[in-house]
Symmetry: C2
Amino acid sequence: MELTFVTSNEGKFREAAEIAAGYGIKLNWKKMKYLEPQGSNLEEIARLSAEVLSRELDGRFFLEDSGLFVEALKGFPGPYSSYVFKTIGNEGILRLMEGVENRRAYFLAVIAYFDGKNVRTFSGKAEGEISTEMRGSKGFGYDPVFLYGSKTFAEMGGEKNKISHRRKALETFFSYVMRNQG
Amino acid sequence: MELTFVTSNEGKFREAAEIAAGYGIKLNWKKMKYLEPQGSNLEEIARLSAEVLSRELDGRFFLEDSGLFVEALKGFPGPYSSYVFKTIGNEGILRLMEGVENRRAYFLAVIAYFDGKNVRTFSGKAEGEISTEMRGSKGFGYDPVFLYGSKTFAEMGGEKNKISHRRKALETFFSYVMRNQG
């Protein structure tokens, strides 16, 4: 079967296409930016994005959104992780977490799938902690401050893709689609 | 003449209605939440919000969005001021600014007006600095950490409304509408 992934990010598309292949799914790339509404949580934002986009696009498609959620910061930077990274960055996160004991955090990825009629969401989580300093040079974004076990995501390289929030969300989604095809 | 202000915030509506009255404008309140897209700046967000909303509402209307922009933090919290306030709050802003010499910041308000055909934006700014501690108990949001001259907005009370970014944006907008009516 074929599915269409709407994203302007080539790296995301390639990672997803590789995982999809394992399910016998051929992924098509719809390379475009779309309107992302503001919202109180990622599920809501992904769902609204897909609903708005479904008025523009023909047929079925899915999109993905993700973010870092720090428990002691009430979920900040959460839905606005990308804007926060571009402004205060990892230095900002470490500063906000100086002396804070509870360092629990998670990455969340949400997929919103428009099946031609309705939007369904699927999510994946990677739970870890905020480190006390930046470590590692692989990956991108918040990877250097996100501890998963004893390593940060930026120290893990390829291993990260095996346990990432995005992979979990994609696997949940692809399994659903294969079970419900036809 | 009459204008419709779309906002779910009664305080904002009342302040605007009072200023409008000074221009001989009667303000109608359309109390509703609307979809606010994410975007790189407030103008873009306000404009897109109005464009999306213009497909739903009949006739002319305007809406308003505002935020705090801190120069040393690359404009953070900017378009996401309200989310950032709900999570890391004023304590977070002070922490991020600890030991930072350049404390320049401004409040920006943007009005997007749909005139039945096109969307136009109007803006107002209040320039000041981030204080080193919270001061004052009036106002709301970032007011206790925003120094305007020697006082914070939270120490100013009524005076603040005379020089606020929102008032400036509303005055620019109402002047435009009065010049171009008919």
